[in-house]
């Protein structure tokens, strides 16, 4: 997505002249967004492996505090940003959506790692959700398995750019009658119901994964168990058949 930066229409030389006299001339949008983007409070919410890189980003070497996002809040009611750091399973997905619904507006979502984006290496699993963007809108996708802490910082900077491009008058959380409750899926016997939220995500017409791999995805379940006792009797030492 391309962002248009908020810029004041005041002449730069005039601004510099005023600034030298101790007067700051700026737009309300800029000031408002400057405050918001400089103190993003993420939610302390680790799902899997990527959570460790998130913690490493918060610790001394990478120090996410330089970007104003060091205050990890344990409660969704106090958080602006939800970092989905790890695999979202079908059992966990309803809780993730519920937590997102509990966050106050304006709220942002950053998916960290391949699993949260698409299922990643576990995409073939029966209990793994193939991307949390099926249920909630995602602002920044951060690929990697796991992404390095620097990548998380880059993702945060991209989010700050997005925040800086928003305008108070057009922002959707100030519009009348805003209702951003996302329906919480339920885990039934055949997976999650509904399978996706059509307002947020639509299935692609072509399945690029199937096109790429062809029939090799469909590995059939093997039906005949190996005869271990017989094998041991025939080949007692099992010489390295490799």
């Amino acid at each position: 997505m391309a962002f248009t930066e908020n810029k004041t229409e005041v002449d730069e030389t005039l601004r510099a002249e005023l600034a030298s006299k101790g007067v700051i001339w700026t737009s309300l949008d800029f000031l408002y967004n400057w405050g918001r983007r400089s103190s993003v409070w993420p939610m302390q919410f680790g799902l899997a492996c990527c959570a460790f890189e998130m913690i490493a980003a918060a610790c001394a070497r990478y120090d996410i505090a330089r970007f104003g996002a060091e205050l990890f809040r344990a409660s969704p009611r106090q958080a602006d940003l939800m970092i989905i750091s790890g695999t979202v399973t079908k059992k966990m997905a309803p809780q993730v959506v519920r937590l997102f619904n509990q966050m106050p507006e304006p709220k942002y979502v950053l998916t960290m790692g391949a699993c949260a984006i698409s299922g990643g290496p576990f995409i073939d699993g029966y209990n793994v959700l193939r991307g949390i963007d099926r249920y909630i809108p995602v602002d920044v996708h951060l690929p990697g398995c796991p992404p390095r802490p620097e990548a998380l910082l880059h993702g945060l900077m991209e989010l700050q750019k997005k925040i800086a491009s928003q305008e108070i008058l057009k922002a959707e959380w100030y519009q009348k009658g805003l209702k951003r409750e996302f329906p919480i899926p339920e885990l039934g016997p055949h997976g999650l119901v509904p399978k996706f939220n059509p307002e947020v995500w639509q299935p692609a017409k072509k399945d690029p994964r199937r096109e790429h791999y062809g029939a090799t995805i469909l590995i059939g379940k093997k039906l005949k168990a190996p005869d271990l006792e017989h094998a041991a009797a025939v080949k007692p030492a099992a010489p390295g058949a490799v």
Binding site: A48, T89, A237, A238
Partner: protein
């Protein structure tokens, strides 16, 4: 989910049912437990798993043997190398492969470094749960980053190392790497002493941890507990000594044991284990020979993993992972994919005594008892 939190009258007393997690800062991931309390005392505790069940075993049964290796990294993501070690040992047993001398030393060096990383991380998180919010963790992560830098240089990744191969390892350590490890080993005791002066005799830590969550050696043995949790209860059982897998029987090291089996012992056993790991590292660095790092038989399978077909049979390999006995059970039917692949996860089995340790304790102690067991949800739920 109905009736998660409810108040009941039972025997004239108030019992409150409290839900922890799955989103809670101290549950080390997405663990959930339902605690019944009377006043502040815990009367019952029920863990609920499965929030990170990502079908590790089912996926592995559809993959070639070599392709399972990166998945084992994601079991216990704090120390990926111990998982690699266990899986590589199992497949080597299955296919009767031998490992060159130098590769064995490289394996031991990397596995012991991973143990140090795990233990300092766990201690940091445990103290986080105690209320020493983030300060010990910052000290621990400072040291952890130094070791992770080495891992990154050698294996290409900070966390998910994927370093082991069947019959050897992926990449050799150069003289420069060995010098770096020397430096880490030489500097580490100073850090440990700094850490210990701040913590080990700290009055608050002693008061919170001593005589809390006591696990008797009988219960621990009966429940199949392994690792530092068992050794803190005073049972001398370490698979490095018992099995002597790889080349551990060549090194001179002690098994630190606790006396009471409380949270403090579990904390202190881990500190002592780091010191023993440093001893092993020193000896391994002094003795490491030159030579091959990969068995010649497996070299062709690096590029064609689907041709690797172990003979029909079964194998169980186990290692002393920092959390306990990590076992892999693989059944081969002669095809490129295993017929059955099972992981004996130490975190899951150590968690079975959580209720026993928590009963009768205060509710604030349940968190530190959970922290002292050292669970990783990737391994618990798989």
């Amino acid at each position: 989910m109905p009736n998660i939190i409810e108040t009941k009258k039972l025997d004239g007393s108030d019992i409150l049912e409290i839900n922890f997690g799955p989103q809670h800062p101290s549950t080390h991931g997405v663990f959930r437990m339902i605690v019944q309390t009377e006043g502040e005392k815990i009367r019952g505790l029920r863990p609920i798993f499965g929030y990170l069940h990502r079908n590790h075993e089912q996926i592995a049964e559809n993959l070639p043997y070599a392709a399972i290796m990166p998945y084992t990294d994601r079991l216990d993501y704090v120390n990926a190398l111990a998982n690699n070690f266990g899986y590589a040992l199992t497949v080597e047993k299955l296919a009767s492969l031998e490992v060159p001398e130098r590769a064995e030393y490289l394996r031991v060096i990397m596995a012991e470094l991973a143990r140090i990383v795990n233990h300092i991380t766990v201690i940091g998180f445990m103290l986080n749960d105690l209320g020493a919010f983030f300060t010990p963790l910052l000290y621990a992560f400072r040291e952890r980053e130094r070791i992770l830098d080495l891992f990154e240089e050698v294996t290409g990744s900070r966390l998910m190392n994927n370093y082991f191969r069947f019959g050897g390892v992926k990449r050799d350590l150069t003289a420069l790497h060995l010098a770096t490890i020397h430096q880490i080993v030489a500097k580490f005791p100073a850090f440990l002493e700094e850490f210990e002066t701040l913590l080990s005799k700290n009055e608050i830590l002693c008061m919170r941890c001593q005589n809390v969550g006591v696990l008797s050696p009988e219960t621990a043995t009966n429940a199949g507990i392994t690792g530092p949790v068992l050794r803190a209860s005073g049972v001398n059982y370490d698979i490095r000594k018992v099995d002597g897998y790889s080349i551990y029987h060549r090194f001179d090291f002690k098994i630190p044991l606790g006396k009471k089996g409380d949270v403090y012992d579990r904390y202190y056993v881990r500190i002592l284990e780091i010191r023993e790991s440093l001893k092993i590292l020193e000896q391994a660095l002094a003795k490491i020979p030159q030579g091959e790092i990969l068995n010649k038989k497996t070299v062709p399978f690096i590029k064609m993993p689907r041709n690797f077909k172990p003979p029909v049979g079964e194998a169980y390999g186990r290692v002393e992972s920092p959390k306990g006995e990590l076992g892999f059970y693989v059944v081969s039917d002669g095809t490129p994919q295993p017929w059955r692949y099972h992981v004996r996860a130490p975190s899951l089995i150590n968690l079975t005594v959580l209720e026993e340790m928590c009963l009768g304790q205060k509710i604030a102690d349940a968190i530190i008892i959970l922290g002292s067991i050292d669970i990783v949800l990737g391994e618990t739920d798989r």
